[in-house]
């Protein structure tokens, strides 16, 4: 149903977004070209300063790995959730929903408790006499990737589940009837038919991952700094607002570009599971 007053219903949301995001972002943009001196010096630094460059590269590398792992894990969970035996479905659903009830911070500290040198895993392994020195499980990239992947899997699940639910069972039966075995059906029919979900999940997770702050900060131990943390450090610790602002602007433009691409490739409704 369309109604002349429908746009009015959106007005509060638009006002909120404008006031809370657009206006402050314009301020950030101004900083990036005025601090400490007017000009595009900060943007030049972005591409020349070895520290900044290395953080960019590390961020993209970690995000790419995390995205790949999350989407693959989510795909497997989804196959069970959407197409598995009824008992397995309930377990899968539980695994998908429970993480949403636990805050990001709690989960990050959960991983610390598990992975740190005096955490559960190392203590157990030492008690069992399997290792002498604690394994380097935390305060490094491995821990960051693990924590981020764990957090992002549920976000990949919804676009994938929506794509899998849309697959017509009869098409899979047809493939069988034409002589295809399970692996063949999975790779040549099922996966291509869920392509929209795969693209959506990949881009969604990648965009989320780029903006990650808490998990890398807690599990990375300051050694594998990522972009969001670099912005934080430049603004709140070393007074280098111009650079922090320039990084922010580049990130926003990048994410905006990725989202625009995403919505060209996939209908937004497919991302949230609506059909």
């Amino acid at each position: 149903m369309r109604h002349a007053a429908a746009p009015l219903l959106l007005a509060p949301l638009l006002l909120l977004l404008g006031g809370a995001y657009v206006v402050p972002f314009l301020g950030v943009m101004r900083w990036s070209v005025t601090l400490p001196v007017p000009g595009f010096g900060q943007y030049v630094r972005l591409f020349t300063d070895p520290l900044v460059l290395s953080v960019f590269l590390r961020s993209f590398r970690i995000c790419a790995i995390v995205t790949t792992l999350s989407v693959i894990a989510a795909y497997a969970i989804c196959c069970i959730w959407v197409r598995g035996a009824p008992a397995l479905r309930i377990i899968a659903e539980f695994c998908i929903l429970v993480p949403f009830w636990i805050s990001l911070l709690t989960r990050a500290f959960g991983w610390v408790a598990l992975l740190s040198s005096r955490g559960l895993i190392n203590t157990w392994l030492q008690a069992a006499g399997l290792i002498d020195e604690p394994l380097p499980l935390s305060q490094n990239e491995f821990a960051v990737i693990l924590g981020m992947t764990h957090f992002l899997i549920p976000f990949a699940v919804f676009p994938l589940a929506s794509a899998m639910r849309a697959v017509d069972e009869r098409v899979l039966l047809a493939a069988r009837g034409l002589g295809a075995r399970r692996a063949r059906i999975f790779w040549s029919v099922f996966v291509p038919m869920t392509r929209a979900g795969l693209i959506g999940a990949t881009m969604l997770v990648f965009v989320f991952a780029l903006g990650f702050f808490v998990t890398p900060a807690i599990l990375g131990g300051g050694r594998s700094i990522m972009l969001a943390e670099l912005v934080y450090v430049r603004i709140f610790q070393s007074p280098d607002w111009g650079l922090g602002a320039a990084i922010s602007v580049v990130l926003v433009v990048l994410v905006g570009g990725l989202l625009a691409l995403l919505f060209r490739l996939v209908r937004p409704a497919q991302l949230v599971g609506a059909r």
């Binding site: 009869r170 098409v171 039966l173 047809a174 493939a175 069988r176 009837g177 034409l178 002589g179 038919m193």
Partner: protein, 357 residues
């Protein structure tokens, strides 16, 4: 006796407490066009799924060339299947859809291309080979589904209501094409429909189902003209039913009382108990008197113009309803509503159904 391609022996299927198929036994002859006909929910799709190997029967066996194939999985049966709604691969072009069974069988690319091109031409899709299924009309998608199911020369082609989504003229066109493909390929076709005229037009044999039971199987003419019971008679087309009493042998047939008059039927044998239902197809009845025919008086209740033909709904003085379908030109000025007419039919038309069915 034709060779048997596949036999069902006492096939039953239950879903929970619900019995979808009960004790179905039939032989499918090599190269025949067998139609499974029945109302919605009668178990046709279930039987087809069992024949295809997508579902396992709860009881009974499937035999092929003397071997028990009940447990053989669908992908190993080498049967083609055309699903209701086509079930094409939406991400593959027409050519890739049709090539799929050959790719799965790892044929050399050259053979695949040649056979796909041949098949595309045969089903009239030349020029559409590179399109995605979503860009095709319903009839074209149907052809892709047929081509894909036939290209690997399956031993049997199973079709589940393939035309139910098509409009009438396209449906008739596709019926002709399916019939042609059947003749050209010599493949055994098992075709599901709930449309009796489609079944009669296409099939060499028809199996009629109701409530999961096989009621009758036979040649189209046989089931139409000698239905085993009242359900089959009524399902296969309009039919007029009268109760017939005092049945006694007469000449080479029988005679009896019907709606207050005397009628004869031959050839026929007297029935124990002396009562039965007399069934006559509307197309065998006329308003034109001929000597030596059966006749009944009836009042016209409604006259319906159907173009080339006109349908008359009548009622006998005894209260039995009957319909007649007559060429419109033969009724110029003919009987109107409320008029009493005499209805005639030859003594060798019609058949007896046991009473109480």
């Amino acid at each position: 006796m034709a060779e048997i391609e596949l036999s069902a022996r006492g096939i039953g299927k239950t879903f929970g407490a619900f019995r979808a198929l009960a004790d179905v036994s039939l032989d499918i002859e090599r190269g025949e066009f067998l139609t499974l006909l029945g109302p919605s929910g009668s178990g046709k799709t279930t039987l087809l799924m069992i024949l295809a190997g997508f579902q396992a029967p709860s009881e009974g066996r499937l035999l092929s060339a003397g071997a028990d194939v009940t447990a053989r999985p669908a992908e190993a049966r080498d049967f083609g299947m055309v699903f209701q709604g086509y079930a094409l691969f939406p991400h593959m072009s027409v050519a890739a859809n049709i090539a799929f069974p050959l790719r799965v069988r790892r044929l050399p690319a050259r053979d695949i291309n040649r056979r796909v091109a041949e098949m595309v031409a045969r089903v009239g899709l030349a020029g559409h080979a590179d399109k995605l299924p979503a860009k095709l009309s319903g009839g074209q998608q149907q052809r892709v589904a047929l081509a894909r199911a036939l290209i690997f020369a399956p031993r049997v082609l199973l079709l589940d209501e393939p035309f139910s989504a098509l409009d009438k003229s396209l449906r008739e066109q596709m019926q002709v094409e399916v019939k042609r493909l059947h003749e050209e390929t010599g493949t055994t076709f098992v075709f599901v429909t709930h449309d009796q005229s489609e079944a009669l037009a296409l099939s060499s044999r028809i199996a009629i189902f109701d409530h999961g039971r096989l009621l009758q199987i036979g040649h189209a003419r046989q089931v139409y003209e000698q239905p085993a019971n009242r359900f089959v008679a009524e399902f296969l087309g309009d039919i007029n039913l009268f109760s017939l009493t005092d049945i006694a042998a007469a000449d080479d047939g029988i005679g009896g009382r019907c709606e207050g008059g005397e009628v004869r039927l031959r050839p026929a044998a007297p029935i124990a108990g002396g009562r039965a239902i007399l069934a006559v197809r509307p197309e065998h009845m006329t308003l034109a008197p001929l000597p030596g025919q059966n006749a009944l008086p009836a009042v016209v209740e409604r006259r319906t113009y159907l173009g080339a033909s006109t349908r008359l709904d009548l009622r006998t003085p005894g209260g039995a309803a009957l319909t007649l379908t007559l060429a419109t030109h033969s009724l110029a000025g003919g009987p109107d509503r409320g008029q009493t007419v005499r209805v005639f039919w030859p003594e060798d038309r019609g058949f007896l159904l046991s009473d109480g069915a």
